[in-house]
């Protein structure tokens, strides 16, 4: 939408100057505020490049698998390493010649080749170790290459790998996280929320310069995880937590929560310094989240009474409402549109969740659905109006 608006503006503004509505200086300032960052062709090109890169990588993997018997193992590996180098260096060339999106497609192909290479070695030597370790090797070596350029596509691929790795660890009883999740079901949700903190903190740490796009992607991924898990904390009843299975703690789960808190603190240092005190207020608000997660872990370790769990459940409602509202306000202050959007969406999701929570068992099914629908429509309309106003205000302000 933003690109369409900028393109339309660029076309219209000349007419405004001609009709004397704005001066040439004002037109220049308007165009500077809303530059046409990318022609409409560049987006399909990016998509084609990414999809094409992924398809070629899949095709390569299939060629090897179909001719498995007839290719010597070193020839398989050699071919793959050649393809990897060719993809990366070809991408670099294209990027330098002014085709950054096509270049990104080839980088994705290179990253895919690297993953295929790891899988190929496992296949050649019949290794069946922990799959999470293979994914870890992949994203850990992919990430520095992404930052070196920087490349958003390669960075997104590496961070996607890291999130997949995290889920694999959580699902594997052989890892510390997986063992913890096996002990108490709540230790499935708490690490996911902690991962949300880690991603959000990492995102903020990227600042507003060369890595701005990565910042936006990571912040949004973190917010999605946080809002989903906290809505869940608000819905879960004490019997669902099944915390009575053990009074136990996990260093791995606590470690991820602490890492999330540390990254929030570090990330906050990259937030705009004005207005005075806003950065500190934002950090204080965000730190309530790891504090809540820490509280949950302490209660599991000490074996709290049911009413304490209920209190904590209600606290999560207030906390998420406050954080979502805070994100909207800080987002408007610092022109972070994704904070505003996700904050609004979270407010809507919580309102619906709380409505179903409170009235779900009291109303007839038909009445419940009907009234919930009306609520969603009404709230959606009101929040969208509010979102548009706040977003417009944010855009009107200069980015800090």
């Amino acid at each position: 939408m933003a690109d369409r608006f900028a393109t339309r503006l660029a076309a219209e503004v000349h007419g405004w100057v001609r009709d004397g509505l704005v001066s040439p200086e004002q037109a220049a300032r308007l165009l500077a505020r809303h530059p046409v960052e990318a022609g409409w062709l560049s987006r399909p090109t990016a998509i084609f490049a990414l999809v094409g890169g992924a398809l070629v990588a899949a095709g390569l993997a299939l060629v090897v698998s179909h001719n498995w018997e007839h290719i010597h193992r070193w020839a398989k590996l050699g071919g793959l390493v050649t393809a990897l180098l060719a993809a990366y260096l070809g991408g670099l060339r294209l990027r330098e010649r002014g085709y950054p999106r096509l270049g990104d497609g080839l980088f994705v192909l290179g990253g895919g080749c690297f993953l295929v290479g790891i899988g190929l070695i496992g296949q050649i030597y019949n290794l069946s170790g922990r799959p999470a370790d293979a994914v870890a090797l992949w994203w850990v070596l992919l990430l520095p290459a992404a930052y070196a350029l920087p490349s958003l596509a390669l960075g997104a691929l590496a961070y996607t790998g890291s999130v997949i790795w995290f889920f694999m660890m959580l699902d594997d009883r052989g890892t510390a996280l997986g063992r913890a999740a096996g002990m108490v079901p709540l230790f499935w949700t708490v690490p996911l929320a902690s991962l949300g903190l880690v991603l959000f903190g990492l995102g903020m740490l990227h600042g507003d310069r060369a890595y701005r796009r990565l910042r936006q992607a990571l912040e949004q991924a973190g917010l999605v995880l946080l809002f989903i898990t906290f809505v869940w904390f608000g819905i879960e009843r004490v019997s669902w937590f099944r915390v009575d299975t053990c009074r136990c703690a996990s260093v791995a789960v606590a470690g991820w929560t602490i890492l999330g808190a540390v990254l929030l603190v570090l990330g906050a240092t990259r937030l705009p310094a004005s207005p005075p005190g806003a950065r500190r207020s934002c950090l204080a608000m965000l730190l309530l989240l790891p504090l809540y997660l820490g509280g949950l872990q302490i209660l599991v370790a000490t074996g709290a009474r049911p009413f304490v769990w209920d209190a904590l459940r209600y606290a999560s409602w207030a906390l998420m409402f406050g954080v979502a509202l805070g994100l909207v306000l800080f987002g408007a202050r610092w022109n972070r549109i994704s904070w505003i959007n996700w904050g609004m969406l979270s407010l809507l999701a919580q309102a619906v969740a709380r409505y179903l929570d409170l009235f779900g068992t009291m109303l007839q099914t038909s009445v419940l659905f009907f009234s919930a629908g009306i609520l969603v429509l009404g709230l959606g309309w009101a929040l969208e109006r509010m979102r548009r106003r706040v977003t417009a205000d944010a855009r009107r302000r200069e980015p800090a």
Binding site: L85, G117, Y125, N126, L137, P144, G182
Partner: protein
Amino acid sequence: MRRRLFVGFVVLQALVLVGWAASLEQARARATLVRLEIAPLDPRDLLRGDYIVLSYAISTLPESQLVGRRPEWSDAGRPIYVALAPRDGRHVAVAASLEREALSSGGNQRLIVGRLRGAGGRASGGPRGVEYGIEQYYVPEGKGTLPPGRMEAEVALTVDGRAFLTRLFVDGKPHP
């Protein structure tokens, strides 16, 4: 500068792949070959994609073979050391322990290192299942179904107990 750094990281990726393969090749070349009995398999679990999922006679350790501390539920994922001795042309487990030192290194015994498998919940007691990293055997497309017969795996064992699955045998003949 950024370009050089990027090229450096790309070359590092290629070197990791080649170096890893070379180290595995070297470890396998120096390893001793042993034959292990493959436990009966459930045909429904036999083929997943283009590899065969294998279970070994030594994948489940009886209580009587455990030396030293008994594994607890929280030990899932920890290394376990298993002593193998030759019997009727195959190697079978004779002792296992969580501590390497607890196993006596007899003349013809070989050591294999596995990882305890987490099974069920906390109430299920200590784990006895072991994974050795040789549970998958990759085969050409469409050749994943094993013919009936006595199944054995040829495994290359390094001095420090790492295992590499090299070949499968059905009734003494290589498969596929």
